[in-house]
């Protein structure tokens, strides 16, 4: 990270919305870490006298259909969902970014071949892919995250390739090529930094999809198993009872929405910070058109 980037980072984080978003993420992380120990309930403990009841002084978020404390379970769900989102996005980023950049830069037959592989993976039935992964590698939650990442990189690769096609004929890339820079060097030093912006924005877009895909896998019996839980599972269960027990949907959905809003906002800011074409004072003014 050079000085200009650091300065942009500092500048960017002074904005109140950015602080709010950072605060929300910090709160969610703290909540996930601490809430289970302050609630007074185990996440798998059943309160036999209070099944599916609304929030009160002993159960801050109410209880679920089996009489378990929702406050504690939302926190436990946060642990799973945040881990899923981070790991899957990381896997998706690590595969999708270079894949798209290389295909876009080299072009021609290699590009064709790489993009057709993406097409093939797109069209394959996702359910079977995951069932098979689990059959081959066993039932392991981390494997599940990797599987989700390994499937969600496809969109990212397409977007990055699209961006790269636009950049590869730019003067600075041509100049580097004329100076005899190697392809890996150009991809690493010129292309990746330039496509980082859309890639980051896109990755933040995939996070909700990944979290919700996890709930579907759990339904299939391939994801987290009771009494463990995740936001996806809590929301899916809550959606079914949204009329009779609205708190079962409201609390996990609010946590998910707030977290995603913050992640998206920070994703946008990071994009600005890492975009080498922007100097500190060189941001277009709002409404400058």
């Amino acid at each position: 990270m050079n000085d200009a980037t650091k300065s942009r980072l500092r500048h960017s984080f002074r904005a109140p919305v950015v602080r709010a978003a950072t605060g929300i993420i910090a709160f969610v992380v703290l909540f996930a870490a601490l809430a289970p120990s302050v609630s007074g309930w185990q996440y798998d403990q059943i309160d036999w006298d209070r099944i599916a009841e609304p929030p009160d002084a002993s159960h801050y978020f109410g209880t679920d259909a089996a009489g378990r404390d929702l406050f504690t379970r939302v926190a436990m769900g946060a642990r799973t969902s945040l881990a899923v989102a981070l790991l899957a996005s990381a896997v998706s980023f690590v595969i999708g970014l270079p894949w798209g950049a290389i295909a876009g830069y080299i072009g021609g037959r290699i590009d064709q071949a790489m993009m057709r592989i993406v097409d093939v993976l797109y069209a394959l039935p996702f359910v079977f892919l995951v069932i098979l992964l689990v059959v081959v590698f066993g039932r392991n939650m981390y494997l599940l995250f990797i599987a989700l990442g390994a499937i969600s990189w496809l969109d990212l690769a397409r977007i990055v390739r699209g961006q790269t096609l636009g950049i590869r004929n730019e003067t600075f890339v041509l100049a580097a090529r004329c100076l005899g820079a190697s392809t890996p060097y150009i991809v690493k030093r010129h292309l990746v930094p330039n496509v980082m912006g859309p890639a980051l924005v896109y990755t933040t877009l995939t996070v909700p999809g990944v979290m919700l895909a996890e709930s579907f896998l759990s339904f299939l019996g391939l994801g987290v198993q009771e009494p463990e839980t995740s936001w996806g599972v809590l929301i899916a269960d809550g959606a079914r009872d949204m009329e009779s027990s609205p708190w079962l949907l409201a609390f996990p959905a609010a946590f998910l929405a707030a977290t995603l809003w913050s992640m998206n906002l920070l994703g946008d800011r990071l994009r600005d910070v890492f975009d080498p074409r922007h100097g500190v004072g060189d941001r277009p003014r709002p409404g400058s058109l």
């Binding site: 359910v127 079977f128 059959v135 636009g166 933040t204 949907l249 929405a257 809003w261 058109l289």
Partner: protein, 306 residues
């Protein structure tokens, strides 16, 4: 352009063949079979069933049989919906999915690009935060939450639109809205990001300094280049919308294609899933081809190359 499409044709057909082959074998490797059910099935009866569907043959022979059928345009009988063959099921479901998906696509694209551009133009102002907050909500609330909420509000409580089912134009609105919303949100975010970038690009600055009108700059110089990420996203997204969504179809009791991917897979209805994969693969390949062609249109830098 036609020449370009024609040169791509062999590759597309090859990709298609790889998809069909991979899907065929992938499905057979998964545990469970079409006849594992709650009720008792004595072994001799299961043997009768397996023989009737040629499942007793070796896998390569089944594959060749299937490819032969597909080449003749016959997707075979459905394992689960025994009174229909897969051709009939797709013919019944595809129009439903295309209608709902088409409305959702138009709505998500038009509104998404508009909102994204508006947010970019008012960057960091109140409008930007409102729009981005709305899109975050659209992304965070899954369709299995939005769908029932719409059905409950407009169908049960207000009684303005049918709560589910298929039949008239009024039946399309709620599902299309629920289907399009997350895509709208994603398109708006992508559009916002790239419009902001394009506003800072030299050619836009040049255009501005030439004193061109805002409108003209936006439509002629900013949007075409800025839309490439949206267009990349749109290839697979359009295919996903048009091929039908299992959640939306479930929530609104729609007889579309989407359920055949998931329910077909859960039922191990091999021929039906293959039929759905073939439809979906066709859409993916077609849309990605269109996207590649659109790149050239949208980005003048690429026109030089070809």
């Amino acid at each position: 352009m036609l020449a370009h499409v024609l040169t791509r044709l062999p590759i597309l057909l090859g990709t298609f063949a790889v998809i069909v082959t991979a899907a065929f074998f992938l499905m057979r490797l998964a545990p469970g079979g079409p006849f594992d059910d709650e009720r008792r099935l004595p072994p001799e009866i299961e043997a009768n069933l397996r023989a009737a569907y040629h499942l007793d043959e070796p896998l390569p022979a089944q594959y060749l049989r299937y490819v032969g059928m597909v080449l003749r345009g016959d997707l075979g009988p459905s394992f689960k919906q025994k009174d229909f063959d897969v051709n009939e099921l797709i013919a019944a479901g595809l129009p439903v999915s295309l209608t709902i998906g088409g409305i959702a696509l138009a709505f998500a694209l038009i509104l998404g690009v508009t909102l994204g551009t508006a947010a970019a133009l008012h960057r960091d102002a109140a409008g930007d935060f409102t729009i981005m907050g709305f899109t975050a909500l659209g992304l965070a609330l899954p369709s299995f939450v939005i769908g029932p909420l719409l059905g409950l509000g407009f169908g049960v409580m207000l009684g303005w639109l049918p709560a589910g089912g298929w039949g008239s134009a009024r039946h399309c609105l709620l599902p299309a809205l629920a289907l399009g919303l997350p895509f709208l949100a994603a398109i708006a975010r992508l559009a916002r990001g790239s419009v902001i970038e394009a506003l800072a690009a030299p050619h836009v600055r040049t255009a501005r300094s030439k004193g061109l009108s805002r409108h003209r700059i936006l439509l002629r110089h900013v949007l075409p280049g800025a839309l490439t990420p949206v267009v990349s996203f749109l290839g697979p997204a359009a295919a996903a919308m048009l091929a039908g969504s299992v959640v939306i179809e479930q929530v609104f009791a729609l007889p579309g294609l989407g359920r055949y991917f998931v329910q077909g897979a859960l039922n191990r209805d091999y021929t039906l899933v293959m039929g759905a994969v073939i439809v979906y693969a066709t859409m993916i390949l077609a849309f990605n081809l269109i996207v590649d062609l659109a790149y050239a249109r949208l980005d003048p830098r690429l026109r030089v190359r070809s």
